[in-house]
Subunit: 467 residues, 2 copies
């Protein structure tokens, strides 16, 4: 990352910032270092200052000054991004959203809620519990809703409820000039001009800074059941999923873990799952429809070679299973103490998924790097968690080689280099391979139009030519 | 529309066009006039030439020439847009897509199909029938898929299956410079950079020209049933819908017709529906879940004052009901022979829908213009069809006044001026009211970035300042 040029903050700028925002501004090393890392494997890269915003107006103040002095400005949620999204490689000011943590409005009749960008997904679900509604998007971390919107996050519920793309209705955004716009109304659908909401969802802080998010909520299902089933091979498991989706069964979650991941969660979560690839299912609906869906899937699993199909209708059992799945990343890391877990994130058309995973496993067999595989298999999205010592350059190079191979094959299969993690800095070169230079030129044109001085989280998503 | 300047086509340009595309180019008056109208109430405004494209390469040829000579270029599907979207007010070349009508690929395992932009929705459904899949988006007309993508269309199925925003996976687009880009892979989800797909969906030919569309398909439900229920008032009907949605019942369609619309379809389709506001329901799922959903909705309808709830489980009865609904626009026009039907298109948060319709009815009562109301009530979207003589300037002014009032109230209720019809020229001023100048400036920046010479369907969606 030493290609980035880093200029010190102008004194005039810092003075103006402190004059406007007082003790909301910090230049303490510990604070800066905390905002100089995420879950990626990059070294700490602290910003020059951190501002703890309390309102959209505070963000306007910061951005206007950054615009005037051409200082980079980077929004920061909980720091759970994993591709270096929030690292200020060119220095500048990080805006921390942890104090913008108010649920602004809940509209149960409309199935919507509006939150400040720093509200986390678990906090939102806690605060709307009494309404009988829930917010389904669940990346591994308890991320901020603003950060999830900015990275177009998803998780285990996406097969039924969609991703942030589908669940963000409107955003309040501070533009590079420091103007405040709202991208859309709360109408459930609209054809009123360019889709500003979709432009900012997934833009990773490079086009504008999200300060409020209106999300869709969903009705808590009356009936929920979960099941787990082992399969002889990953292919059999994937075939079961394809058949399930082709039957039109509105499955709420379907996750795969390979044998290595099963071993890891068995150890980490004290479970005794059969050491074989497994699918975890969850069904939502009325009690009758849940039973019907589950019976149909049980039948399909049997036809696909499923070895055992066991139920978890009790909340406690269900919660245990899903906690194990959610902890798969940490469980994997125990396989190699002191290691770093690096996760790939390709997503392919589901017809190519078994093949994609199959070749990946063959390639991984040639390497000595320990790994596990988990995946949101209903969407064609899977993660290989590669366990490396990030200070061992050979292991890092080997990890990058494996990751690149997985990405190249996914692109050949008409898939994407990232289903849900986003681009950050780590996947910028993959974007060229996936979209081609002409499409990237359109992205560059958009970036230049929305951020002419390149102050908004610069150096992320697309390389700007000639700059 | 006389504010637009219209320059004749340069001879050199026309010669070059004919040299490249021969008899695919027409300057015959009848052909030009056919492409100079849509379903709006504007006078015919013919383009200077029409090109019948047969491939993406043909479109590239046209756009490159238009770019070189700074000639406006307008894509044309079946001409069913209703806000003047395709009218070449500044002259130029219209590209007709009717010969780009091939289904390029059907991928049943992935639930996707790729079509040339001129394929219509009914044609697509015909061609995929054998797969057990269907494409749900159903605007009134048998529109082209390219046109539907360009206007972010929806219809009666959107409450369950979403709009074109949700159902377009990827696009092939010719940019203003004549480059061909593909906006995304066929992966079901992606976080790989800016959402180019969403940028072009709803851009009405002003940012690029869509030549191919990859859409999501859905599994034909094993069980379908439909029902109809009358209510004493529109408010009662809307309350029934709110309760249905809050129960999380995955209703496939729920449409409202007011008493006037019921009268109109009774006459037009020889039905004998009770002369009272009605809801039409459709349920999709397994036979058991369809029955369960319908039973629950029947109960809710009863509690909301529903007067009678009658089933249409037979395909024929169902088809008769839905045909009547789809013909409501034409049926309405019979109420005033020789008239023009002008449709409003607001969409509001559903909690405000009854109030929105209620005030609208009060306002309409003060006018002498005949009207009917139909609506995709599950989405908060409704249409007032105003029957006017478009050559009577008083009636036109009265219609515009009513429409503007409906839009202003919808915006006050945090709704949108257009749920599904798009902006064209007719709603450009509403866009300012809805989004504000700062958000519109972002739209203008996008337009300038993607179409610096303003050749792509110029004069639509946003007024560019200082031009």
């Amino acid at each position: 990352m030493n290609t980035h040029t880093r200029k010190p903050l102008p004194d005039l700028f810092l003075n103006a910032l402190k004059l406007s925002l007082g003790d909301q501004v910090s230049t303490a090393l510990a604070v800066r270092e905390h905002h100089g890392r995420d879950e990626s494997m990059y070294d700490i890269c602290p910003p020059d200052a951190v501002v703890f915003a309390r309102s959209t107006e505070d963000v306007v103040t910061v951005v206007k000054l950054c615009n005037e002095y051409e200082v980079p400005v980077i929004p920061f949620g909980v720091g759970s991004s994993i591709e270096g999204h929030v690292l200020p490689f060119s220095g500048g000011v990080t805006i921390d959203f942890s104090e913008m943590n108010q649920v602004v409005a809940i509209n149960p009749e409309d199935l919507t809620a509006t939150v400040q960008a720093g509200v986390t997904r678990k906090q939102l679900n806690q605060e709307i519990r009494h309404t009988g509604l829930f917010f389904p998007i669940d990346p591994g971390a308890d991320a901020s809703i603003g950060g999830m919107a900015a990275t177009r996050a998803s998780g285990t519920n996406a097969v039924r409820y969609g991703t942030m793309r589908d669940n963000v209705l409107s955003l309040t955004v501070v533009t590079a000039e420091g103007k405040v716009i709202r991208t859309a109304s709360r109408a459930k659908k609209s054809a009123a001009g360019y889709d500003l909401t979709a432009i900012f969802v997934g833009s990773e802080g490079t086009l504008g800074i999200i300060t409020e998010v209106t999300v869709k909520l969903h009705v808590q299902p009356e009936g929920i059941s979960a099941a787990i089933c082992s399969f002889p091979t990953v292919q059999d498991a994937v075939q079961c999923v394809i058949s399930t989706i082709q039957m039109g069964i509105p499955i709420a979650r379907v996750e795969i873990m390979d044998t290595a991941a099963v071993n890891a969660v068995n150890q980490y979560s004290q479970l005794s799952l059969k050491e074989s690839p497994v699918l975890l299912f969850e069904f939502h609906g009325t009690p009758a429809s849940v039973e019907e869906q589950a019976t149909m899937v049980q039948e399909i699993a049997k036809e696909s070679g499923g070895l055992d199909f066991s139920w978890a209708t009790q909340t406690e059992d269900r919660s245990k299973l899903w906690t194990a799945r959610h902890n798969a990343f940490f469980a994997s890391m125990q396989l190699k103490p002191g290691c770093r877990g690096v996760s790939t994130d390709v997503c392919v058309p589901i017809s190519r998924l078994a093949e994609s995973i199959d070749i990946t496993i063959q390639e991984l067999a040639k390497s000595t790097i320990p790994y596990t595989i988990v995946g949101h298999v209903g969407d064609g999205n899977y993660h290989v968690i590669l366990l490396i010592d990030r200070h061992n350059s050979e292991e890092v190079a080997e990890m990058e080689r494996i990751n690149h191979g997985i990405v190249q094959r996914a692109i050949e299969m008409d898939g994407t280099c990232t289903g849900e993690h986003g681009v950050g800095v780590h996947k910028m070169s993959f974007l060229v391979e996936e979209h081609g230079e002409d499409a990237l030129d359109m992205m560059r044109a958009l970036k230049r139009a929305f951020d002419p001085k390149n102050i908004l989280n610069p150096g992320k998503i697309v390389h700007l030519k000639n700059t």
